[in-house]
C-alpha cells in the first residue's frame, strides 16, 4: 500500500517536473512579454566637425620704391564685388592670410588676391590662383612697383612737319641712357621707365642724336604725372628762309661783323641752323633763331665762317654711321 502511494507520488512528481521543463522557468519567473518595449527616447548622439584652415602665403618683391600701406583683398569664385576678407597693412615682405575651409574655388583659378598699394603712383596688382579645401598655398612671388613713367609723341621736321622715322629718342638720367628707341615710319615713339625715376631731378628726353640737326633736349618732370606727351620738331623752323646752312662743329663763332676780332654774339653748337642771306668769299651773313623764354623765338643776324657750316639738304638729314661728318 505504501509502495503504491510512493509510486503514485513519484509519478505525479515526474509529471510536474516534466511540465516544469516544458514550460521553462516561466512558472517561477512569469511569462516574458514578446516585444521589446521602446519609449522612442532620442539617443544621445554627438557630432563634432573639424574644419581645416587655408593658409595663403604670397611673397612680395618691391622694385625700387616701397609703398607705405597696402590693401589686400581676397575674392573667391570670380566674385570681384564681395571680398572674403580685406586687410590693410604696412607693406609686408610676405603676405599671409588665413581663410576658413571651403571658401575658395578648388576647381578653377577664379580666386583673386587684389594688391592695392595706397599710393596713386602704384598700380593695383591681381594674383589669380586655384584654391584648396584646406592646408597651405604658397603662391609665386609677385613684384610690386610704381607705375611705369611713359613719354610718347611724334618727331617731325619743323620746316614742313614731315614725320621723321628712324630718329633715335632716349631718356637719360644725367648722361646715362636709361631707355632708348627709334621712331617708326609715322614718326611715333614711346618710352617707359620704371616708376622709381618719378622724382629724379636730372631726367631728360633726348631726340635726334643720329641727325645732322642739333639734338632736341627736354627736362622731364614726372612728379605730377605718370605719362607725358612731347611732339618733337627737328631742324630749322618754317620762319627761316632758304638757303639754310648748318654748323658742322661745336663752338662756332657767330659774330656781329665779318672782321676778325669783331664781337662774338653766340657760340653755336653743332647742327645749329643759319638762314643765309649774304655771301662773302670767306663768310656767310644770316640769321639764327634764339629762344627767349616761354618758347618765344627771335631771329638774330650775324656772320659765320664758311668753313664752319654746310648747306642743308632736307632729303638727307641723318648722320653717316661712320662719324659726325654730315652728308652733303
Amino acid at each position: 500500500m505504501l509502495k503504491r502511494t510512493f509510486n503514485w507520488f513519484l509519478h505525479i512528481g515526474g509529471i510536474l517536473t516534466l511540465i516544469m521543463f516544458m514550460s521553462g522557468c516561466s512558472l517561477l519567473k512569469g511569462p516574458l512579454y514578446p516585444d521589446v518595449i521602446y519609449n522612442n527616447r532620442q539617443p544621445l548622439i554627438s557630432v563634432t566637425y573639424e574644419y581645416g584652415e587655408i593658409e595663403i602665403k604670397l611673397p612680395l618683391n618691391y622694385i625700387g620704391v616701397v609703398p607705405e600701406i597696402i590693401s589686400f583683398e581676397v575674392y573667391a569664385h570670380g566674385d570681384t564685388a564681395n571680398p572674403i576678407i580685406s586687410i590693410l597693412q604696412e607693406a609686408p615682405r610676405v603676405f599671409f592670410v588665413y581663410l576658413p575651409q571651403g571658401v575658395l574655388d578648388i576647381h578653377n583659378k577664379s580666386n583673386i588676391i587684389k594688391i592695392i598699394p595706397q599710393d596713386t603712383n602704384f598700380r593695383p596688382v591681381n594674383v589669380r590662383f586655384k584654391g584648396i579645401r584646406f592646408g597651405r598655398i604658397v603662391l609665386p612671388p609677385k613684384s610690386i612697383q610704381m607705375g611705369q613713367l611713359i613719354v610718347n609723341g611724334k618727331v617731325f621736321l619743323n620746316k614742313d612737319e614731315t614725320p621723321l622715322g628712324g630718329v633715335d629718342v632716349s631718356i637719360q638720367n644725367f648722361d646715362n641712357v636709361i631707355k632708348e628707341t627709334t621712331t617708326n615710319d609715322s614718326g611715333f615713339y614711346q618710352l617707359s621707365v620704371p616708376g622709381e625715376y618719378k622724382y629724379a631731378q636730372h631726367l631728360r628726353l633726348v631726340a635726334g642724336n643720329n641727325m645732322i640737326f642739333k639734338p632736341f633736349k627736354q627736362k622731364l618732370d614726372f612728379s605730377q604725372t605718370l605719362k607725358m606727351r612731347y611732339n618733337i620738331g627737328m631742324g630749322p623752323n618754317k620762319a627761316m628762309e632758304d638757303p639754310i646752312y648748318l654748323t658742322n662743329r661745336e663752338s662756332v663763332h657767330f659774330r656781329e661783323q665779318p672782321d676778325i676780332g669783331s664781337e662774338t654774339l653766340f657760340l653755336l653748337g653743332a647742327g645749329e641752323s643759319i638762314s643765309v642771306t649774304r655771301v662773302t668769299p670767306g663768310e656767310y651773313y644770316g640769321s639764327i633763331e634764339i629762344e627767349v623764354g616761354s618758347k618765344k623765338m627771335v631771329q638774330l643776324d650775324g656772320w659765320v665762317n664758311r668753313t664752319d657750316v654746310f648747306l642743308l639738304d632736307l632729303n638727307n638729314v641723318f648722320k653717316k654711321e661712320s662719324g659726325n661728318v654730315s652728308e652733303l
Binding site: L32, Y33, V36, I37, N39, R41, L44, S46, E50, R133
Partner: protein, 161 residues
C-alpha cells in the same frame, strides 16, 4: 600604353575622390558595435580614420540589449567629422500585481493582463495606463534606469530593485 593610361587616370580619380572626402571617426557606448553606413557594415566601433563623402548618409547601429539607433546625417565638407553614439540600454523588468481583473497598457500600444510578467523595457520613462472593465482606472509614468521589479497596487506602484 593604353592600359597604363587607364591605370593613371583611375589613380588620379581615386586621388581626387580621396582628397574630397572627410575623415570619419565613430565611437559608441558600449564599444564593439557593428556600424552600418548606408547599409554597408564598416566595422566594429570604435572606428577611426575612415573616410566619408560629404552629403547625406544613414548610420544604423544595432546591438542586442540596447535600443537600435538609426541616424541620418548631412556631412558637411570639412576636414573631419567625429560621431559619438550613446546607445540606450534595455532592462528586463518584472511586473507583478495582486489586483484582479486589470489590463495594463504601456506606451499606448503594449497590452497584457498577466498578474506577473517580464518586460524588456528601454531605459527611460514609459507611460502606464491601467484598465478595469474597459475603463481607465489609473495612469502613471514609470521610470526605468536599471533592472527592477514593479509591484502594482491600485493607485500605487512600488518598485524594488
Amino acid at each position: 600604353m593604353f592600359r597604363n593610361y587607364k591605370w593613371f587616370l583611375g589613380s588620379l580619380l581615386l586621388l581626387v575622390n580621396l582628397s574630397a572626402q572627410v575623415k570619419l571617426s565613430v565611437k559608441t557606448i558600449p564599444k564593439k558595435v557593428n556600424i552600418m553606413l548606408d547599409g554597408i557594415n564598416i566595422g566594429k566601433s570604435p572606428i577611426i580614420n575612415d573616410r566619408i563623402n560629404p552629403g547625406v548618409h544613414k548610420f544604423e547601429i544595432i546591438k542586442s540589449g540596447f535600443a537600435p539607433i538609426t541616424y541620418d546625417i548631412l556631412v558637411n565638407p570639412s576636414q573631419a567629422v567625429h560621431l559619438d553614439f550613446f546607445m540606450n540600454p534595455i532592462y528586463q523588468v518584472k511586473f507583478k500585481t495582486q489586483e484582479k481583473g486589470l489590463v495594463f497598457e504601456l506606451n499606448g500600444e503594449h497590452l497584457w493582463d498577466d498578474p506577473f510578467i517580464r518586460l524588456n523595457l528601454e531605459a527611460g520613462d514609459h507611460f502606464l495606463r491601467v484598465f478595469k472593465l474597459n475603463e481607465i482606472i489609473d495612469e502613471q509614468t514609470i521610470h526605468v534606469d536599471e533592472p527592477k521589479k514593479f509591484n502594482y497596487y491600485l493607485k500605487k506602484l512600488i518598485s524594488e530593485k
